[in-house]
């Protein structure tokens, strides 16, 4: 991205465009990650359509993965804090 940053240096419109595209790319990468994880968890043999149970599994999978990630991040931060506090 650094070439672009030089290039867009003082062009506001270009900078904004690149920032938005960067954010979109981040969200997109995140969707791919969730998709891989939840595909493995929820999809058995591919059939003619996603049944209701599979759809529920997929959306629960995404939300629970985010919950898990938030919980672990919080607790991990606490652990680090405790560790550095004890030194």
């Amino acid at each position: 991205m650094s070439d672009f940053e030089n290039l867009s240096g003082n062009d506001k419109e270009l900078q904004e465009f690149l920032m938005i595209e960067k954010q979109k790319a981040q969200v997109n990468a995140q969707i791919h990650e969730f998709n891989e994880i939840c595909w493995e968890k929820c999809i058995g043999k591919p059939s003619t359509k996603l049944d209701h149970a599979t759809e529920t599994c997929l959306s629960n999978c995404v939300d629970r993965f985010i919950d898990t990630s938030l919980l672990i991040t919080q607790r991990f931060a606490q652990m680090l804090q405790k560790q550095s506090g004890g030194m």
Partner: protein
């Protein structure tokens, strides 16, 4: 810098095209990976009919899944934003 002389509009179009290409390539490679794993248990001399059917269905379900995951994540992002805004307004 080779692109320095490009018009800005041209540059934006090019970047958008490159992003679209990269997205399609990523989708293609993930789809191939997942559907190969699901549908080809014991690689034989050729893809037989049932394997081909499985791959077709797998591709369609992969896209369904991707769309559903994307929607669920989008909804979650929105909920988290609302939550953040309401805690911020409580602080003020």
């Amino acid at each position: 810098m080779a692109h320095a002389n490009l018009e800005k509009g041209e540059l934006i179009v090019q970047v958008k095209q490159q992003i679209a290409l990269a997205n399609a390539q990523e989708m293609l490679s993930k789809m191939t990976d997942k559907c190969f794993k699901k549908c080809i248990n014991k690689p034989g001399k050729a893809l037989d009919n049932s394997e081909q059917r499985c791959i077709t269905q797998c591709m369609d379900r992969f896209l369904d899944t991707w769309n559903l995951v994307s929607r669920t994540y989008g909804n979650r992002l929105q909920r988290e934003q609302v939550k953040q805004m309401s805690t911020e307004s409580e602080l003020n």
